[in-house]
Symmetry: C2
Subunit: 208 residues, 2 copies
Amino acid sequence: MKLYLVTDEKACLGRDLFWVVEEAVLGGVTLVQLREKNLGTQQFIEKAIRLKALLEPYKVPLIINDRVDVALAAQADGVHVGQQDLPYTEVKKMLPEHYMLGLSVETKKDVQEAEAWELSYLAVSPLFNTPSKTDTAPAWGMEGLRWVRANSRHPLVGIGGLNAVKAAEAVSQGADGIAVISAICSAESPRRAAQILLKSITNAALNP
Amino acid sequence: MKLYLVTDEKACLGRDLFWVVEEAVLGGVTLVQLREKNLGTQQFIEKAIRLKALLEPYKVPLIINDRVDVALAAQADGVHVGQQDLPYTEVKKMLPEHYMLGLSVETKKDVQEAEAWELSYLAVSPLFNTPSKTDTAPAWGMEGLRWVRANSRHPLVGIGGLNAVKAAEAVSQGADGIAVISAICSAESPRRAAQILLKSITNAALNP
């Protein structure tokens, strides 16, 4: 989950989502989340299956946002849930052992509660304010990220308002990876944007 | 599934959905489906849990539309899927044995395909054109219903544009039950509307 792409069709500036994702993967994206809030179930599954087939040869896992049923039907690699989605215990009941499970944390209470759970990562959300999502909780900021790092045993992914500079800073402050939407989806070259982000966080990890 | 209520908050004319459902159950509704297309997952689950608690004392099962994950999280009694929802085989994989599973059939091909499947019922949809749903397939009509009866081994529920007279006709032509939305949700007295519908279809079943 070093460089995690969360999809948003609207952020792709009219370009094909599958093209954007493949370019991003060629640029170094290591994990992809399909997020769809307005698609019918069958269309959502079809999109997930197509994305899974695209990612498989690159060994990049596919995470589905919110919908455990869609993740299972599409044989994706994991599920990401927010605080307003399915509760952890219910997801765990439905999800086979080998599936990844990520959780967004928006408050210190969320982080503390998650200590008891088996999770693949926590998404520290939003790390900064972002144009992609406006209904979010207050941003954690770097100080918040350090607090989460000190109080969580889980791998951490920073999300929200990250560019190459801030991404590097997040990694140097304890994030194991960063997740982006518009920084890649809306970039003129998603491949180049991914390369720059990856280089930036790799350097930050080597020289903390 | 003799008298099956499919909920639609918008059809309730501003009245509380839980009040409408309880009145309908007191009037004789035997099965309730919660259908929500625009709620977040957690809100959907909360509504389902509240509805399940309301229905439990009446021994009226709760069916969840489309979302297998929500049905499991809310410990509902079953799932209803349409042709645009999760595919049958995927639903079956996720759903414990004792859960009900209903399927909407819109074409003769849908009916024939469903012969190989284990289903609690087929919803013959729409039986007539209806104001509640405008994105539907062509209506089956009574001739279509007779064709489905002759070509399906499953219990049949007619849905779409049914009033007490048409409901009786549907039952006399082979439907095991009828499902309604606005005929109950939008009635001045949902309880009285349910009583009239139930009486009408019970008479029709006794005197085919």
